[in-house]
Structure formats: structure tokens, C-alpha cells
Amino acid sequence: MFMHRSRFPIFLLLGLGLLCLVWTVPARAAERVYIDITQPFFQRLPVAIPDFKYLTSNQTQLSREMATTLTKDLDFSGLFRPLDPAGFLEDPQKTGLTVTDLNFPVWRRTGADFLARGGYEVADNHIKLQMRFFDVVTSRMIVGKMYEGNVRDWPTMVHRFADEILLALTGEAGAFGTRIAFVQASGNSKEIYVVDFDGSHPVQITSDNSINLSPSWSPDGRKIAYMSYREKFPKIFTANLQDGTSRLLCGYPGLNATPAWRPGRDELAVTLSKDGNPDIYLVSSSGAVIQKLVNGPGNDTSPSWSPDGRKLAYVSDESGSPQVYVLDVGSGQKRRLTFSGSYNTSPSWSPKGDWIAYCGRGDGRLDLYLTRPDGGGTRQLTRGEGNNEDPTWSPDGRMIAFSSTREGASAIWVMLASGGGARRITRLPGAQQLPDWSPRSQVSE
């Protein structure tokens, strides 16, 4: 049934995915195909990721780098517990790559339930990278992929494979190839930067030499809308990531702020104060006002769309203090969501629509919370560790990026949606804030 030395076609992959249902891995949630890692007491799956095998003799240092990148991704997911390579009994340059040439009992003895194996060849600047993920207990391959391209792009390939592993095990692909836009503050200016989800490869997007805030990715990942004072007054611009240009989107009198791209449409929700006080408007991709979404005597700001683009979470202080509300765009009905605490802001709707994350003040500090869109099930995600603001979700709904001052100046951190596993991802000089997580469709620049 297993083909020798072959790359497994999709249908066999699906077949193996179904085989996950009949695993008998003891005391593990792997008995279910859909592993819910947002449950706080989920037990991580031990996985062995030895150095990759180089099939040609150049670029041997990538052998460890690639394995490390894959290890970090799987560790980040909260699903796995990568084993210490010091405990591996075989030389990774001699160990096999496929089901037929791997000795699974040896790997079982290291305590692994899963094994990731990669092999690569480099010629000029071209790399061929094959990776496979095995269930050690049943000696079967779960997923295998082959990637080719410029050797410089190996991290993208490894991240994609990590996405595939998660897809195979949980039914939902990972988001390891996605990126996070944020504000980098140093000196007197704040510019928009983009970084890989794990903090590597920071790229500067704007060079306006002004104060720039609130980056917001377009659904196709090609543009970032943001607010800037570069034309003296607070206006909204869009940066085109493919050609490096930026253009004015909204420059109405007063405040133009907090752009939020509407899922599935070429429209944005924005805060404008042109009619007297800050309200939320729907504008087209050329900045023309389509309709006023939220009108009120107080301040209305910080819109965040539901994944189907039909509802909007936002902040209003019409009750006397800033609180999170939900607007049904079709009917125009508004409903207040938060009732405890005197300061609840920065809502962010999860990609599956099942949670709204927000920032609430208590004990003089800002912390992150989750609540269901109907208002129930409120949970506190951070506690007693500096100020934690501006949550944003990864597109697979597993992770939340946010800014935190728990180690001094504000930096971008990522944690699991369950609230655990928080790790710092930016270490640039100055301060980092206002993160926005990219969609899955990406353009590199």
C-alpha cells in the first residue's frame, strides 16, 4: 500500500488523515481528530525533530537551522512538546527519510509519539526540500511534502510544512507563514513594520518620518491601511506592499483613524470626526463615505469586523465610560457587550467568529480578555504582568498577538488563545505596539 520512495499524492494524505481516527496513542487527545488546544489542560504530544539530512554537501549548516525552525513552529502551536535532540540515538545524516528506511522502534524509545524528517539538496541557489511527518507508534506517514525554490526561501517552506502538520492533525492548517504588522516607535517617529509571526525578518514598510499608527491588513494581504500625521493632520493612508507606494485614503476634516478592512469586500470601517464627534463610517477603497455605521453622542471608535463582515465590534463611551459594543450592520442594531470594569477597549473578533478579544482596565493596569459575541463566557488572559493592549488574532484562530510592557518598553508578544505560552517576538530598540495579524494570502516584498 505504501509506495516506495515516492511523494504521497493528496488522496493518500486524506486517507492517512482518516487513519488518525483509529490511533491508539494512550492518554492523549489524539484519539479525536479535532484536537482542541484551547482547553487549558491539553497534554502536549512528544515529537522528535532531528537535524535535516543534506543530500548534497553544500549548505550543511541549514541542516540544524531548518530543524530548529520546524521545532519552534511546532512548539509555538502549543500542540507539541519537542524532545531534546541530545537524547536521539541515531546520526541524523544516516537516519532514513521514509517509512521504509526509518527504524521506528528506535524513535519510540526516545519517548516520541511523532517524528519529523527532512532531507534537502542545494544546487547553485536552488533548493529541493522534502519533509515528512510520521506517527511513530503506528509507523505511518501522516503528511509528506516536497518544496522547490530559491534557497533563501527555505523558512517559508518549513513554515508551510508546519501548517500542513497542523492541518493533518487537527483539521485546521497552521498560520506559521503569516506575518504581523506593527508600529515601531523610536526617537520622535513611529513607522509601520512587518515581521514574521515568530519575530524574524522585520521589514520597514513606511518611511514617513512622522507618527504612524493602527496598521490594518487588507484581506488579500497586498495592502496595509494605517493612520499617519505625515500631512500634519491625522489621515488614513494605504501602503501597497507590492510596489512600495502609498496613497491617501481618508483626509476629511478632523480625525481620520483606526482603519479596519471589511472581510471579503473592498471597504473599510474608519473613525471620522468630520460631523462633530468621532463616529464610525463605512468607506470605499477610494475613501468615499458609503454610510455612517455608528452614530452617537459619545466617542465611537476602534472597529473590528466579524469574519463574515456582517457585524462590527467597536468601542463607545455613550454610557459614560468606554465599553465594547456589537453592531449588526444590516439592521443597525447596537448591543453592549461589556459590563464589568470602567474601561474596555480594542476589541478584536476571532477568525472563526467565536470570540471577541479586548483590552480592559483593572487595578490600574490593562489586561486582555475574551468574551463570546453574545456577551457570555468572559475569561481573563493576562494578569499581573504590565500593560497588555491591542489584541489581534492569527488567521487560524490559535494565537493572539498583543503589545505588553511586562519587560519594560512595549514589545509585541504572541500567546495561545488559551492564554498560555506567551512569548516575546520583537526585540527592536525603542517600543513596539498596535499589532495587526496578516491574513493567510501573502505577498512577499
Partner: protein
């Protein structure tokens, strides 16, 4: 035997295209402006440090102000200094005007009526606590409160413009109540 081959060539052609294009950030404005843009007057850079625009006033500007004698001009400079130095302060998370705020604003009304050609930008600020986005709205409302008060006291609309800086341009950078209180303010900058 089929290769489950991820075709990298097409994918990474995009990367090549990117490097081929000379990527410098150009500011391009769409040809069809759908909205009016705020006109800026005079000052080359927004400032909230109290330095204001009264540094050097040239002849043209004096004529615009309608001040011709040396005595008048000296008087103006003195009053303008005070005008810009007195900020209006706000309570935490609030944008209503206190009695103290009103008395400061009354003096500004006097100045603006005495010099009906003088133009001012009202800058609304907040302290650094709280989220950046909500603080932008708060700063906007603080500026608006002062704006309406001045307007209702008889100042010409043409003399007034507003801008919110939220928490982005704090005057005091300490992490204590005294610093925060200094930042919750409207600051008035003469445009010359």
C-alpha cells in the same frame, strides 16, 4: 508515481518581480479627491511643546495681523507668549471643562477678540495610559470642547482649527500622576 510537488517556481517569481521594481515609497494622491482636505496655515511642523509660531514674525505677517507700530507689536508678543503657555487641563478620561479650564479659556477669548486676525490651532492631548486609539478620540473631544466654548464666547470660527494627538505627543514623560495630569490638556498654538 506522482510527485506531490509544490511548484516553487511560479510562487517565487513574485519575489523576483519585487526585487526588479525599484521600491521607493512614493506618495501618490488619487486623481479624484472625494473629500475636502483641511487647509494648513503657516506652521511648518506640528508642535506641542509650547514653542509656538511666535518666534519670528515677518512684515507680511504683521500686516496681516494689522499691527503696525512697534508698541503694538511688542504688546502682541507679550500677550501671545502667555496665550500659548497656558494650557487647559482635564480630569482622567474626561473632556468636560472645569471651572479652572473655563477661566483659562476666557483669557484666550480676550486675546482672540483683541486680535481678530490671529489664528490658532487647538491641540487635544491625553496621558499615556489607556489605548492609543481611544486616546485619539479623547484628544479630539478635548479639542472640540475648547473649540465650542471659544465659539460660543464670540470668537470667529475662521480663527480656530483643531487637531488631536491622543497620547502621541506627551509633554511630560514620567510614569506618575503629576506627569499624567500635565498631559491631559488642550494646547493652543498660534498659526503665523
Amino acid at each position: 508515481m506522482r510527485r506531490d510537488l509544490f511548484n516553487g517556481t511560479r510562487f517565487f517569481l513574485v519575489v523576483l518581480l519585487i526585487f526588479a521594481v525599484n521600491a521607493c515609497a512614493k506618495k501618490t494622491i488619487p486623481t479624484k479627491q472625494e473629500f475636502p482636505t483641511e487647509s494648513t496655515i503657516g506652521t511648518t511642523e506640528p508642535t506641542s511643546t509650547g514653542a509656538g509660531g511666535i518666534g519670528g514674525i515677518n512684515d507680511g505677517q504683521w500686516r496681516e495681523l494689522g499691527l503696525n507700530s512697534a508698541a503694538e507689536r511688542q504688546e502682541f508678543m507679550k500677550r501671545a507668549q502667555t496665550f500659548e503657555n497656558d494650557d487647559v487641563y482635564f480630569a482622567y478620561d474626561a473632556y468636560v471643562l472645569s471651572d479652572e479650564a473655563r477661566s483659562v479659556l476666557n483669557k484666550k477669548v480676550e486675546f482672540l477678540k483683541r486680535y481678530p486676525k490671529a489664528k490658532v490651532t487647538i491641540e487635544g492631548h491625553s496621558d499615556q495610559r489607556g489605548t492609543n486609539e481611544y486616546n485619539l478620540a479623547l484628544g479630539e473631544r478635548r479639542a472640540t470642547s475648547a473649540y465650542h466654548y471659544l465659539l460660543n464666547s464670540g470668537v470667529q470660527a475662521a480663527q480656530l482649527s483643531m487637531i488631536s494627538y491622543g497620547e502621541e505627543r506627551p509633554l511630560a514623560t514620567g510614569q506618575d500622576e503629576a506627569s499624567w495630569a500635565k498631559n491631559r490638556r488642550d494646547h493652543f498654538v498660534l498659526n503665523l
